[in-house]
Amino acid sequence: MAAKKKRAPNVQNDSWVVIAADSAIHTQKHDRDADFVKLRNPSTDAACLYMLGCGDAQLYEVKAFEEDFHSWFVGQTVQRDGRLVFVTPMDPLFLILPYFIKSGKEAKFQPVDQVVTDEEFPACSRLLSCTRSLASLQHIAEEKEAGSTKFHRYSEEKTMNWLKKKVERTVVALKRRNISVGEGVKSTTYVRVKSEPDSHEEDYLRYAHGLISEYISADLSRALLKHLELPELLSPKETEPPSKKRKLSDNPVEAGEDYTKFNSADFVRKPPKKMTAAQKTLAKVDKTGMKPMSSFFSPKVKAEKN
């Protein structure tokens, strides 16, 4: 009925619909406004948007709800993207952790500001101003005090215990929120009415581990899985039989058959191979009055006059 509509690209807009806690944008107490900053995502290692509250006191993660066919009516205007941005509090330690792991390879005690530096994301040093940051470093590192300065060294054991606690607390939150964690039909349109009774403790643990893994590197995620004593699940991809495609190799390509042998004198034609069912039926077709295909390409033979 209607003509096909073309989809224009979503142009950058200068306003957003955001849900944020009052504390995130409260400006009276501090001299520094809340600020969107790009930092390294610990899970993907790529640039990702975060928000630092006023005076860098608190870290917030930024997530967007995005679905097709949505738009906003804002006052007397239309906002084309139906995006809803959530700004939610986040533990800054997740973002600090990768820097400690990196410097942990040197196995030295170091002052924090030497550890948390990043040429690509200079804003990362602001993470240390967050109220929780310095106090919570003890969860992932050993501390030494010399004079008035503190020195830290990454500890995997401490980190694992800290992450395990995070997982356990997530499990509690999942249960309280009645979030369905079992392997069911994964549908986006079906709302699960009740939590399945057969959701076992392991399902909760695995789900929580998956959620926490969104905030740590893949290596750490695997280590955490071991620490939680959960067996690694094989993805269906890995259980599939290997592809039948021929493997490419570095060896020079050689002809599979030596065609020169047809030229030799002692070459004898092999008896014709067995015909397939289709070829057999074709052979049975009545061909009277049909010219061979090749006749169409050869020079015309003048018809003899009688």
Partner: protein
């Protein structure tokens, strides 16, 4: 004819009816069904029924009710007056289908076309007469779509009533002509005094007949096209006239049930090619193979941003 119930809220469908004459409850009656305003892009479609005792058919003829299309507006008003005066034996009822009702029916997810809407409205009105105690024995209907199919449908729906569906029934049966006059008069009045729900300031009421080929209507449609909202509720959005104008002049709006195909749409919807289910996965080909967002987020359509 008191149109105030409809004018109070012209977004919805509305039923208006006369008093039921007492004779109609005791004597065998005939009933005519006709409609006005099927084709226009503007204004409501009005369905009307008229009924009277079979014995009074001749008296109805004497009123010289004729096919509403052959009459001028003044003549129609005059005839309606006469019908109203004959209320001792003639009853009528109207269903005004607002343009908004027509638009939303035809454009909803499960399409409800104009013929189905018409049939159901006619059935609703006949049922209303039966529910009011009118002793119906004969029903005459001007056809919508194939006459015999419509006749079968109505006969099955109303067993025991003789249903006659004919093209041009409004010029063949006086009771249908009467229904047609009621419907036409109601539509004329509603269109003339349309209450715009939208704040349009001083509305230009020079919208002509409302038929798509009327130049006045076309000019009006061009003038009142809003780039975001399209038209006031006075316009039937489902008419191709309105749709073509909106497609070319207004902002494009995408709906979930838009017909969309092609590779781009599939890619946008994240559809997988059927073939991909049969071949073994090629590692590293998938961009997100290394990192797959947890289903807590994907199920909730939440994603991280790298820029606002």
């Amino acid at each position: 004819m008191d149109l105030s119930p409809f004018e109070a809220n012209n977004s919805f469908s509305c039923r208006l009816a006369s008093q039921i004459p007492d004779v109609c409850r005791t004597e065998d009656c005939c009933l005519g069904v006709d409609e006005a305003g099927r084709g226009p892009v503007l204004g409501p479609m009005v369905y009307g029924i008229c009924f009277c005792p079979v014995s009074k058919k001749e008296e109805l003829k004497d009123l010289k009710v004729a096919d509403s299309k052959t009459l001028t507006e003044a003549e129609r008003e005059d005839l309606f007056q006469k019908l109203d005066e004959a209320k001792s034996y003639v009853g009528w009822a109207l269903q005004i289908l607002s343009p908004n009702t027509i638009s939303t029916s035809m454009l909803q997810r499960t399409k409800y076309n104009l013929n189905a809407l018409s049939h159901d409205t006619a059935i609703g009105l006949i049922q209303y007469a039966l529910d009011s105690g009118v002793q119906l024995k004969e029903v005459y209907v001007d056809t919508v779509g194939p006459a015999d199919k419509y006749e079968d449908k109505l006969s099955q729906r109303f067993p025991g009533i003789k249903v006659t569906v004919r093209p041009k029934a409004d010029s063949l049966f006086p009771i249908v002509s009467a229904a047609s006059i009621c419907a036409k008069v109601a539509r004329d009045r509603v269109v003339k005094g349309w209450n715009f729900a939208e704040d349009l300031g001083d509305v230009d009421t020079e919208y002509g007949s409302g038929y798509p080929n009327d130049p006045k209507t076309k000019t009006w449609l061009l003038k009142y096209l809003d780039p975001v909202f399209g038209y006031p509720q006075f316009v039937r959005f489902s008419w191709s006239t309105a749709q073509t104008l909106m497609d070319s002049k207004a902002v494009t709006v995408h709906w979930e049930d838009d017909d969309e195909d092609g590779e781009k749409a599939a890619q946008r919807k994240n559809n997988r090619s059927m073939l991909s289910y049969f071949s073994a996965s090629t590692e590293g080909n998938d961009h997100n193979a290394t990192h797959q967002t947890h289903r807590f987020f994907t199920e909730r359509r939440l994603k991280s941003l790298d820029a606002l």
